[in-house]
Symmetry: C2
Subunit: 663 residues, 2 copies
């Protein structure tokens, strides 16, 4: 394998001189597709020269994204370290861990579970603080602005590349109808007489079906978690019980990951099938529709379990004495003490790391190599002639063993889903940018290696921008603002803490917060057959147990009704969402307004060239008149000189002068 | 006056033939600046021919805005009629008006006011329903979408006009530094030795000062209202008391209007002064900064009292027994029963109608006429020579009596403020679009008359778009979404009604809603010296009076504390804001995405012309080579023919071919 760069194809790269064509792949291999140069900027100019503008833009985009991830991951690490440093000053977790604070909690499952001490949740509570502290609020605002900055910087970078690559006047070439579309139209007009009975299925229903399947699977995993947890609770000794929670969470997350990985492949195929059914008219619209469909399906696939944990877990539990049951026997899951943020964090890190490690890197390296091997073996008629043949083979024959280029969609898709992980739930996982950064540093070189050594050289394509991907990025960044607002206000305990500190705390400190968030339950109010079978496990008879909710105590006029505190906290949570969303939107607009889309020097340069062109043009016109007036060969030389001059100026300044080939 | 159209200036209108130049003003006067043609489309082509693209675009924009107001005012009228039709089915106002429903309300002011019956608020409650019914929720969503549609349609119209007016390749001409700026720079460099001690004052502080003044005046008006109301309450007989509220509201609104009108003129001057101090470099940036400053000041000026009424009136009242006092003696204002929506409506209609009638029409017609008269009188040396002089005067001498053209800023500003009235508070005043429509139908012809007969003919200016105004419009439309969300959820009683109906109502109907929104107060808890002087006015001793708030009754454990209902309603209100805002933003994005910016036919046409141009260009190049190859006069004719051909094609297709003059 080693240094087997492609140089077989002889396409003239859109009329630009390819320079030392034989050396280019070698140069790319050394200066670009190499892990040892990971700290260097990519030689984008060379990449574009060899692979064309479209692939050049992808790598430029990936480079900028990786570069922008550096400050984000730095801040993320600082936020995480702040969490680590303040974990011992955190009063709520101190209160939970304090041995004298013997709060008796209600059983976590029916019959087999018993009452438990809050102090056993000490570890989870302390861990939660790492991701659930005031710094994360700051960090989500920072990341929303970061996303806006990234968009703006990309616009500028794209503009600069457009200028450097002579694309300023280039416009998308005319789209020709796809052969498949024309065939379909022809078929239709032929069938018109005999009334086509089989209608083309509408695309929205299969798409909905797929999303339905995803939800069903998420639900299945939830069921697995509930039942496993109950089973583990039943059989385990008191010592292992503490590990039960973590075991279940982790295995469930891994199962989720595997399901996501499998469905991802399925959905890719489904999206293609759906788009083929739709039969869009042109190649461009085919590509865009396919990308959009694939994106929606993969996005839903990757984020449904996470959204379930963030916003629905632990909210549909009911209360002791009137729990909510699924299929009449399984109780809905509760979150561990300290909010669901910890579980969200575990799910996020496993999904993200797993996707990156398994899907992207393993699949991306392994599968092409495997395919190459298969192709190689197939074309091998006998082993003994091998070496001889190898020598005789032409460059293009060797290259035929390579994988054909399948488009940039999977590369972009992978990065966009990662961008989703970095922005959407960053409030609960400040290390996401760091993981993304580490992945991308490898990813760039990996992709580069793939393009240089594993794939047949793709036909160079021109492009002015990254197309629909930019819109998808914008969409993700917009959704991220609202999702982060909800994560902070609903998943984390940030708002309840604030409310307690400023409205209920007797001394303005956080002391007593844990007690405030726990409601009282009289154990005699358990439904029959649901009470625990080992009421004496803690060593004394329990009359009142506690559970995490804002409800009236049993001795109030309206026992177990939702209390005033619940509504207060809810109102403050919603108010926070409104303020957060609008502040971030406003700041995004300001960023958008402060950073001009076209870099100053480029716009000046373009302006200068325009003046030059008009000048030249007018001189030429003047020269022509001069020619006609003075007629004769004397003036002709003059005119000819000017005309040549003008031709030289055209490739940069005249619109479509570059794309004349397309007509 | 009558038919004295301008035709003095002889500028060649950017090189385009003006056709029958002498007839154009007359034609414009007859076909455009005439009230009798109000139902017709404007002859925008003629307007642009005579006044240039910039003014043409203004009238095109105004025309589209007026046209778009037609569906909006239709729907608005239907919503209003729905309110009128359902006023008798409205259970809350029925309950208030029912004679048997004898709820005793707490006094509206200290000492002099007495208890009053809720049934006396019957009229206000019924009137409120006209503007506070479920249809207004629908209407605000409709108007948010309408604003998005308007933006999109304007983009398309602008594109079409750009194409028709040959502006597709036109780009803004180079900005030259303003003379004032160069003078300032020169001065600075001269003063450099003797250390300029007087610093140019920073612009932000005077701007803040102005906004401060506005707030102070709003506060003054509030004080006036409070004191007048107290005075009127004191002196009036029981019969006139019912009219007191309305009198105070109306006079206060009129005072507000007068203050707004005066401050508007002041702020215009202030904005100019501030921008001159800033000394921006180019004319374009001067204009943009001036517009932006003027807009901010005028906008704050026009909307501060309205925002006060919508969001702060009646919220800072306190409660009986512990009212909030301003300057220790004036109680903050309450809203009449049925929410502040009614008062908001009165304030809105008076401000809007008043501004339109007085400021726009009176000032716009009257002041120029007055100025013209003054200029005429000044230049008149003796009356007896008058008629003789008149005959001898040249066209341009007569035209000198006309008002000079002062830019389009006031015209746009007027319309943008109106756009604000139409979109910002439309939830409380569904008739706003209708009033705007009626005003604009007159406004178009009035402006046209002014341009044709009252002003010196402005120097024609080119422009591709309406510049900063488009961004301001977008900003207003964005702010409108969030303000409407807050008006519906906080100013109107829509959410409390919903909450009552679905959470508290015993039979799921609205019966009992009025009772539910009123809290109880034990009159013995009044502060000393604040209790009413005539406790027996209703004919019986009052022990418990009611007031509009969600608070605990006196007999609860925590008397007069904010109740659970308050927090419930608040949470639902905030949830509504989030849902409303995000749904509308999403729908706006969909509208933006569904309507392409460039009309299909125009983009096709542009594409065709581009192909034609490239074709021509290649032929010409080919021709040249041919000329050089075959040399001699035989080929020259051919080449000449092609060259001419190419020149003819240029004005449309080559970039900047039109703006060559600027170089």
């Amino acid at each position: 394998m080693s240094a087997a760069p492609l140089s077989g194809t002889d396409s003239s790269l859109n009329g630009k001189p390819t320079g030392h064509r034989q050396d280019l792949p070698k140069l790319l291999y050394e200066e670009w597709a190499n892990y040892s140069v990971f700290y260097k900027y990519q030689p984008i100019g060379l990449v574009r020269k060899y692979f064309g503008e479209k692939i050049g833009l992808y790598f430029a985009w990936l480079g900028l994204y990786t570069q922008m991830l550096i400050p984000a991951s730095l801040v993320g690490v600082i936020v995480f370290l702040y969490g680590c440093a303040t974990v011992d000053d955190n009063i709520p977790s101190m209160e939970i861990c304090h041995p004298r604070n013997n709060i008796t909690m209600c059983p976590l499952c029916d019959r087999v579970c018993s009452y438990w001490r809050l102090s056993t949740a000490c570890g989870t509570a302390r861990a939660s603080h790492l991701f659930d502290n005031p710094a994360t609020v700051f960090f989500s605002i920072f990341m929303a602005l970061w996303a806006a900055m990234f968009m703006e910087h990309w616009k500028r970078r794209q503009m600069r590349l457009n200028y450097e690559w002579d694309l300023t006047g280039f416009e998308d070439e005319e789209d020709h109808p796809r052969a498949e579309y024309e065939f379909r139209v022809m078929q239709k007009s032929m069938r018109k007489d005999r009334r086509a009975q089989h209608k083309v299925p509408s695309t929205s229903s299969p798409c909905n079906l797929q999303i339905g399947v995803t939800f069903a699977i998420v639900f299945g995993v939830i069921l697995y978690r509930i039942s496993t947890k109950a089973a583990l609770h039943m059989s385990s000794s008191p010592i292992t019980r503490n590990h039960v929670q973590l075991t279940v969470k982790t295995t469930a997350a891994i199962i989720n990951l595997v399901v996501i990985l499998i469905l991802d492949e399925v959905y890719g195929a489904v999206a293609r099938w759906l788009t083929v059914l739709e039969a869009p008219k042109t190649d461009k619209s085919f590509e865009e529709r396919l990308i959009f469909k694939t994106f929606i399906l993969k996005f839903v696939n990757a984020f449904t379990p996470i959204i379930y944990i963030a916003f629905f877990r632990g909210r549909l539990v009911g209360r002791p004495g009137s729990y909510l049951y699924v299929f009449e026997s399984y109780r809905m899951e509760e979150c561990a003490h300290g909010g669901c943020l910890m579980e969200l964090c575990i799910q996020l890190s496993i999904t993200m790391l797993g996707k990156q490690l398994i899907q992207n890197n393993l699949f991306e390296i392994g599968v092409p190599k495997l395919k190459k091997l298969i192709r190689y073996i197939r074309s091998k008629p006998g082993a003994f002639q091998e070496e001889e043949r190898q020598k005789k083979l032409q460059r293009y024959e060797i290259d035929h063993f390579l994988e054909p280029f399948g488009g940039l969609t999977p590369e972009y898709m992978e990065m966009i889903i990662q961008f989703g992980f970095v922005t959407l739930f960053v409030a609960s996982f400040p290390l996401a940018p760091l993981f993304a950064l580490l992945n991308n540093i490898i990813e760039i070189r990996l992709d580069a290696k793939k393009f240089v050594t594993e794939l047949r050289r793709p036909v160079a394509a021109r492009a002015k921008d990254i197309g629909i991907w930019y819109n998808i990025l914008r969409g993700v960044a917009k959704v991220a603002v609202i999702i982060n607002a909800f994560v902070i206000s609903f998943t984390s305990d940030f708002i309840p803490r604030m409310v307690y500190q400023y409205m209920y705390s007797p001394d303005g400190s956080m002391h007593g917060f844990v007690n405030h968030t726990l409601s009282y339950f009289n154990v005699s109010h358990f439904q029959e057959g649901k009470e625990t079978m080992s009421p004496m496990q803690l060593g004394f008879p329990v009359e009142i147990c506690r559970y995490k909710d804002y409800r009236e105590p049993p001795w109030s006029a309206t026992p177990y009704e939702i209390s005033k505190e619940f509504w207060t906290v809810l109102a403050v949570r919603l108010a926070f969402v409104i303020v957060f969303q609008n502040v971030v939107l406003l700041m995004n607009d300001v960023v958008d307004w402060l950073i001009p889309d076209i870099p100053k020097d480029i716009s000046l340069q373009i302006h200068k060239e325009k003046i030059l062109l008009v000048d030249l043009f007018m001189k030429e016109e003047h020269g022509k008149i001069f020619v006609y007036e003075s007629a004769a060969p004397a003036g002709e030389k003059e005119s000819g000189g000017r005309a040549n001059n003008s031709t030289a100026a055209q490739p940069r300044s005249r619109p479509n002068a570059n794309s004349t080939k397309s007509f």
